[in-house]
């Protein structure tokens, strides 16, 4: 087994289009790495995860009106808004090289440290939480995703929020203000952060990029050698862009597991109960519980977390809900189960409608 070189290729780019940026990442996998590419997209583009339903995640009409490009990443995870204030990180390496991780948990942990070290240099103290989120004091600042091909070469992707137009992001991700209770919107905004917000001042992307570059060099104990794309590589990227990332068959690809969303509103003795729920096939993808009942936020979050990935069967939902009701300010199991099933029924009816969740809109 070969050993990992102590010098990695380094690439910087700014203002790339969605299709060209994604094509470059995938093309660079053919080199097997190690490559670190730190880049920004032209403002703005909306990128969904490989298995997401574009129409269910992105407000396509709004994107068309505002000139926001839409595309699909080869990596997993949720939809993101990218532009000149969000730093894209693409790290390409081969699991067949000695000392390079193979399992996703190892990949996220190992290369997430490069991001953490970079943020630390800026004075932002972040940590890896829930296996693959980078958070600062519980707020998400970077989302991670990985894809690996049959040859063992992987692409570790990160979108790091240097700054963010939250309202634009919520609009792109079909969370327009009129659809959202203020409380829900506030929670969405409160569950993410940016480098600028953490430092309380404006920060240039170039400064963040330098810090991340140095962070990776330190954690991987390697040198980064700047080497741009040669003519043959640019041709290869252009071909991949034309044949894949500019094709509707990729961007709007049919997915076997459709997403659907539903909402429900129910008056209960404890107050108004409102639910936002998304399904992936016949299981709950995500649920947000809000309303004017009096309950501790952490208890609501715990229930939301417990409901994720549960099958949409009444008995299974009741079994999950029941242990949580005591801490939910007088809500009863039957109210919650009924509200969830109402939202599920609406989701089934509205299965072509949008889903209000993205990589940075984990409203929990």
């Amino acid at each position: 087994m070969e050993t990992s070189p102590k010098t990695w290729r380094y690439l910087e780019e700014d203002g790339v289009s969605a299709s060209a940026g994604l094509a470059a990442d995938e093309f660079l996998m053919s080199t097997r790495g190690p490559v670190l590419r730190l880049y920004t997209y032209r403002s703005h583009c909306a990128l969904v995860g490989k298995f997401q339903n574009v129409a269910a995640e992105i407000d396509l009409a709004f994107c068309r009106e505002t000139g926001i490009a839409v595309n699909r990443r080869p990596t997993g995870g949720g939809a993101i808004l990218m532009g000149e204030q969000q730093l894209g990180v693409a790290l390409i390496h081969s699991s067949r090289v000695a000392g390079v991780p193979e399992h996703p948990k190892e990949i996220f942990g190992r290369y997430g440290k490069g991001i953490l070290a970079g943020l630390q240099r800026l004075g932002v103290h972040a940590s890896i939480e829930a296996k693959n989120d980078i958070r600062v004091e519980g707020r998400k600042i970077a989302g991670l995703g990985v894809c690996r091909n049959e040859e063992g070469t992987f692409l570790f992707h990160t979108s790091l929020l240097v700054d963010l137009d939250i309202d634009l992001m919520l609009q792109v991700l079909k969370i327009s203000a009129e659809k959202l209770a203020d409380k829900l919107r506030a929670r969405a905004a409160d569950n993410l952060t940016t480098v600028c917000r953490q430092l309380g001042r404006s920060v240039e992307v170039a400064q963040v990029r330098d810090a991340i570059r140095l962070g990776f060099a330190a954690t991987e104990e390697m040198q980064l050698e700047p080497r741009g794309l040669c003519r043959e590589e640019l041709e290869g990227i252009r071909t991949l862009e034309r044949e894949k990332y500019q094709q509707d068959s990729w961007i709007f690809r049919h997915l076997p597991t459709p997403d659907a969303i539903g909402t429900s509103l129910r008056k209960t003795p404890a107050g108004l109960l409102r639910l936002y729920l998304s399904l992936a096939g016949e299981r709950i993808k995500d649920v947000t519980i809000t309303g004017d009942f009096m309950a501790d936020e952490s208890a609501v979050l715990a229930l939301e977390k417990a409901l994720a990935r549960q099958p949409v069967h009444e008995g299974a939902i009741a079994a999950v809900v029941s242990p949580h009701v005591e801490a939910l300010g007088g809500l009863h199991t039957e109210d919650l189960v009924g509200a969830i099933l109402d939202a599920v029924a609406e989701a089934h009816k509205m299965s072509s409608r949008a889903g209000p969740y993205g990589c940075f809109v984990d409203v929990k």
Binding site: G76, P104, F108, L144, V146, E150, A280, E282
Partner: protein, 159 residues
């Protein structure tokens, strides 16, 4: 008391350790799926995608589909050389079947092998060998810290 997690292996299957695939012989065809340890180590499988039948001749280790679990997208790799004859639609609609019933409803594809006897030699078969393979993998994964967080007590069962 800590909850014991049981990882089951079927003793009528052949196993490809590096692909985490099982193979079940059915006449001159091979039904293929992801083994229970592979499914469990991946975490909750959110999506899968399978190549449509007869698209191309697969070599050992070639991708015939992809899965997504915990923001990871990875290749489902063939344990045998052959062509795909049938694809199971059920886990495409409900990928959780891979976690709940990997040897039954969660099967992935049926292959027409091209080098059956030759390829079977490199697969793990028989109760003792399967138990050894599974136990060694669990020990390795535990040492690497990649088992799910609830993997305190783990039991491998071959039946």
């Amino acid at each position: 008391m800590a909850k014991t997690q049981t990882i089951r292996f079927r003793d009528d299957r052949y196993y490809a350790p590096s692909e985490h695939m099982w193979v079940k012989l059915e006449d001159r065809r091979a039904r293929i799926g992801l083994d229970a340890l592979g499914c469990w180590a991946a975490g909750t499988i959110a999506h899968i995608d399978l190549q449509r039948p007869a698209k191309r001749l697969l070599r050992v280790g070639a991708a015939f589909g992809t899965l997504e679990a915990n923001k990871f997208v990875g290749a489902l790799r063939a344990p045998l050389r052959g062509t795909i004859l049938a694809v199971n639609e059920a886990p495409l609609q409900n990928p959780r079947l891979l976690n709940t019933d990997p040897y039954g409803e969660g099967w992935l594809v049926v292959l027409e092998p091209t080098h059956f006897a030759e390829d079977l030699v490199s697969l793990v078969h028989g109760r003792e060998a399967i138990l050894r393979y599974a136990s060694e993998k669990v020990a390795e994964y535990r040492q690497r810290g990649i088992l799910p967080d609830d993997a305190k007590q783990l039991q491998v069962v071959v039946q």
